[in-house]
Symmetry: C2
Subunit: 217 residues, 2 copies
DNA sequence: ATTTTCAAAATATCAGATAATTTGATTAAT
DNA sequence: ATTAATCAAATTATCTGATATTTTGAAAAT
């Protein structure tokens, strides 16, 4: 048994929230979850407690748990936080990253670009995998920043951001792909300023696009 | 019964970690904790899970929990994160805060200043209360920033920072008190730039002072 | 010294049980 | 007809005690 029951259920529930299979605001009844995820009520409570301090779940007094709700303001808030952390970390990572790091970025971009080409070709079924690669790429960009605290916070913020993106399954296709390529290029030329500028545009563009789509109203 | 058993125990354990009554690295044996904090093992696990996603506790595979350990690098890391969040939020709060907010800051500073005078007069026994007021003052400064996500992250980061300060019970007396006065004054004149500059000095000074004290080695 | 072995301790997880709270529907009162 | 009061069912919070794994540490063997 590689991982514990709790870890497995934690990962599944978390993904179910992030990818929208558990809708925003949905009540999370303990006994029902226990059935679905094959873990006991006590274990479930542990998991939901963890998720609630990550902001994906809300614990309401004596009224149990529910999936955190979404709002346009919430998206802008989370996006701003993502930008703050990521633009802070990018220059640090760019100046501290070695060849080992650089090649991890190249590898992450390779996977992401492959997926983007597939999506552009009309194959929309692996949205989830695509988003996973998106996350891994962005994470790899800042991985060499040297601050574990920042990377932890970023992980939590990114998944909240991701959930918003998924609520309105938005594929901005060539625009985003181009921005990702520019980001990769800035890594190879170690141009942190350019990377920050593109990233800001990347995130703000995505937020604007999503909000305009009306999916969050 | 105003608050639940879990909430009460959570608060107590958290304070015990932040204020050093539970030492960095100490193992947290479940049955022992259950005795001490008057909660069952299942409830304890819930609490420790929460604390572990806040970074105050480490969950080690199948080996239970322990208090997160400390290191000079960890302090610098957390301090940098605190500065990032706080200097980002200060200008926002300064421009969005109304009179209601301003008066909350004045009130928080009043309590903090009172405590600082007492500590300067040689009465070192209420260190914990002093730190609580310190926290409340800084929290109040950014409270009007408009981002709940930021305030949540800040709360978690601040307590990690606080723990480092408490490990080396450092009272920088008049220096810190002066900086707090300057911060209050910047609120009243809405000078965010000055506030950020003072804050940066405040935090960096405290980190340097603590590291030099050798308490973290 | 290093490795192997094995019992004791601790953890992860579960399945009920109990008390307190919340929810919703029903009834009573304005 | 709306609001308020009432009450049983559902749900949660919490505990106890049980089982299966894992980890730990000491003793034995190499």
């Amino acid at each position: 048994m590689a991982t514990s029951i709790a870890d497995r259920a934690y990962g599944t529930i978390r993904a179910d929230i992030v990818f929208g299979r558990l809708s925003p605001g949905a009540r999370l009844r303990l006994d029902r979850l226990a059935d679905v995820y094959g873990a006991s009520v006590s274990t479930l409570r542990e998991i939901l407690s963890r998720l609630s301090s990550e902001g994906l779940v809300i614990a309401e007094g004596q009224r149990g748990f529910r999936v955190a709700s979404v709002s346009p303001a919430g998206f802008e808030d989370v996006a701003a936080m993502r930008l703050l952390l990521e633009t802070y970390a990018l220059p640090l990572s760019f100046s501290a990253g070695d060849l080992e790091w650089e090649s991890r970025v190249v590898a992450a971009h390779h996977k992401l670009a492959f997926m983007e080409r597939r999506m552009l070709a009309g194959d929309q079924k692996d949205t989830e995998l695509w988003k996973r690669y998106d996350r891994e790429f962005h994470q790899s960009l800042i991985e060499a920043c040297g601050s574990q605290t920042l990377l932890d916070l970023y992980g939590s913020v990114f998944d909240q951001y991701l959930r918003y993106q998924m609520v309105a399954v938005v594929f901005r296709g060539e625009i985003a792909a181009e921005e990702h390529r520019t980001l990769l290029d800035s890594v190879l030329t170690r141009n942190a300023d350019r990377a920050c500028a593109v990233l800001t545009q990347h995130v703000n563009g995505c937020v604007a696009y999503t909000l305009e789509s009306g999916a969050l109203v």
